[in-house]
């Protein structure tokens, strides 16, 4: 599969943007800590959107710097962890992302139908 086209690279780039959107979507329901986010992503996507831990934490920090989410240290059940919650700007961005994603999948599906893939 990994010939001239480099399927793995393409997949990685596709996932990169999607993971940001999915993290925002997860945090839209409740606040979570890093490891919890990684497990939820893995579980809900059946491993398709699993993210390396070395990528997740820097990504969270970048989202934090863009003021989309905010991380705060909290002690819950005796354990101190950094919990992330979505900010209002993050919610707005997520709405736009979800809207675009929906129109994107519709369009791609129509094209797939025409191409006999669906």
């Amino acid at each position: 599969m990994d010939g001239i086209f480099e399927f793995e690279k393409w997949k990685k780039e596709m996932k990169k943007g999607l993971v940001e959107m999915c993290i925002l979507a997860l945090l839209n329901s409740k606040e979570m800590y890093g490891y919890e986010i990684s497990k939820e992503l893995e579980r809900l996507s059946n491993g398709v959107l699993s993210i390396e831990e070395g990528t997740l934490y820097p990504l969270l920090r970048r989202l934090e710097m863009k003021k989309l989410i905010k991380g705060e240290w909290k002690i819950i059940e005796g354990k101190a962890r950094k919990y992330y919650r979505i900010l209002s700007l993050g919610r707005e961005v997520l709405k736009d992302m979800a809207k675009f994603w929906s129109s994107l999948t519709d369009s791609v599906n129509r094209i797939f139908e025409r191409g006999g893939l669906l």
């Binding site: 890093g34 490891y35 831990e53 070395g54 934490y57 920090r61 101190a80």
Partner: protein, 356 residues
């Protein structure tokens, strides 16, 4: 799980996080390190406890400390200029590419000069001496260029804004082979970790034998050839250095045969013994005109003997180069020993920790 094992696992966590911290900007370091620590502990607990094996597998998936830290630095908002002597992982492929092409250009340039000397109007012996010195000049030029590039790239690595712009500009001019190369390096690194390395005792013995033969030949040549006092001093120093190296290699051979692993003390002794050459290099830097270049005449190849060797003095125009070369060699000897030392005290925790 014993108390000792848990303590060792925590030591491993600290060691790894300390290494990550070294490459992080100060203002985010505490926060990042604490978050990573809770992650490692949470995951290890889920895997069955804080054991060396679990911790090692987690830090392995987090990745090499410098690479992990560089993920935080890229896109950082820091404006302050910093300098650390180290190139970040994302810039490394660019660095190697630039070094490769610059070296190719330098080598081609010098080859042209050497060919000119070879077919020039000088007599053969002076031509060969000039070719030898031009070759030394090429080595000096390569070392200085790589050093300069290393320092420049370290500076760029330490400054996220400059780095971002630099990578952008590089991609615009030369396309985008960076990620692919990084992937290849990552793969190579993984293989390297897996194949971690059992020293071969026989090689040390072979090295000891070859070294002692070379030492003997140099000793004989010193007795036979008409060397200046400076060259005699060099040759005897070399003989002593090689003889001690050979003895150390024999000790290493027995040590590895018995223990199955190399010894830090032996490895570092081999580096330190090279320091015996430094006094000669310093004196050669002052009395450079007394350095001689031994050249082999054609009859040497028909009938190998010391009569077939002729001694040429360094051409006058190359004396400044020879002075520079002696200083450079001193720097190389010192840096080589420092790197050997750092390699042992400041590396990422290795697979062998699990075996312990």
């Amino acid at each position: 799980m014993t108390y000792e094992e848990e303590r060792e696992a925590y030591r491993l966590i600290d060691e790894y996080l300390d290494e990550v911290r070294r490459y992080l900007p100060d203002d985010i370091a505490d926060d990042v390190i604490e978050e990573l620590r809770t992650h490692i502990i949470d995951k290890a607990n889920e895997m069955g406890g804080i054991t060396v094996k679990n911790v090692y597998s987690i830090i392995k998936s987090l990745g090499e400390p410098r690479k992990l830290a560089s993920e935080y630095v890229i896109g950082g908002e820091r404006k302050k200029l910093r300098f650390e002597l180290g190139i970040s992982e994302d810039l490394y492929p660019i660095f190697t590419k630039i070094v490769f092409w610059t070296s190719v250009l330098i080598i081609l340039g010098y080859i042209v000069r050497m060919v000119q000397y070879a077919f020039g109007s000088y007599n053969t012996e002076i031509s060969i001496a000039k070719i030898a010195m031009t070759f030394s000049e090429m080595i000096v030029a390569l070392v200085l260029t790589v050093t300069f590039l290393y320092i420049a790239m370290s500076f760029i690595s330490s400054n996220p804004d400059i780095k971002r712009e630099f990578i952008k500009a590089f991609k615009e001019f030369f396309g985008e082979p960076i990620e692919r190369e990084e992937k290849r390096r990552e793969k190579a690194r993984k293989i390297k970790i897996k194949e971690e390395k059992r020293p071969i005792a026989g090689l040390y013995l072979l090295s000891a034998v070859i070294t002692i033969i070379v030492a003997y030949v140099i000793y004989l040549s010193t007795l036979e050839l008409n060397y200046t006092w400076l060259m005699k001093f060099l040759c005897y120093t070399l003989v002593i250095e090689l003889a001690i190296s050979s003895a150390i290699n024999i000790i290493a051979y027995f040590y590895i045969s018995y223990k199955g692993e190399s010894s830090f003390l032996i490895e570092i002794s081999k580096k330190l013994i090279q320091f015996i050459l430094i006094p000669w290099l310093l004196i050669a830097n002052i009395f450079t005109e007394d350095i001689q270049i031994p050249l082999f005449k054609e009859e040497f190849f028909d009938n190998p003997s010391f009569e077939g060797i002729v001694l040429i003095k360094i051409p006058a125009e190359y004396i400044p180069l020879a002075k520079l070369l002696t200083i450079l060699l001193i720097v190389v000897l010192i840096v080589d020993s420092i790197i050997a030392y750092l390699k042992y005290v400041r590396t990422m925790p290795k697979e062998k920790t699990i075996e312990e």
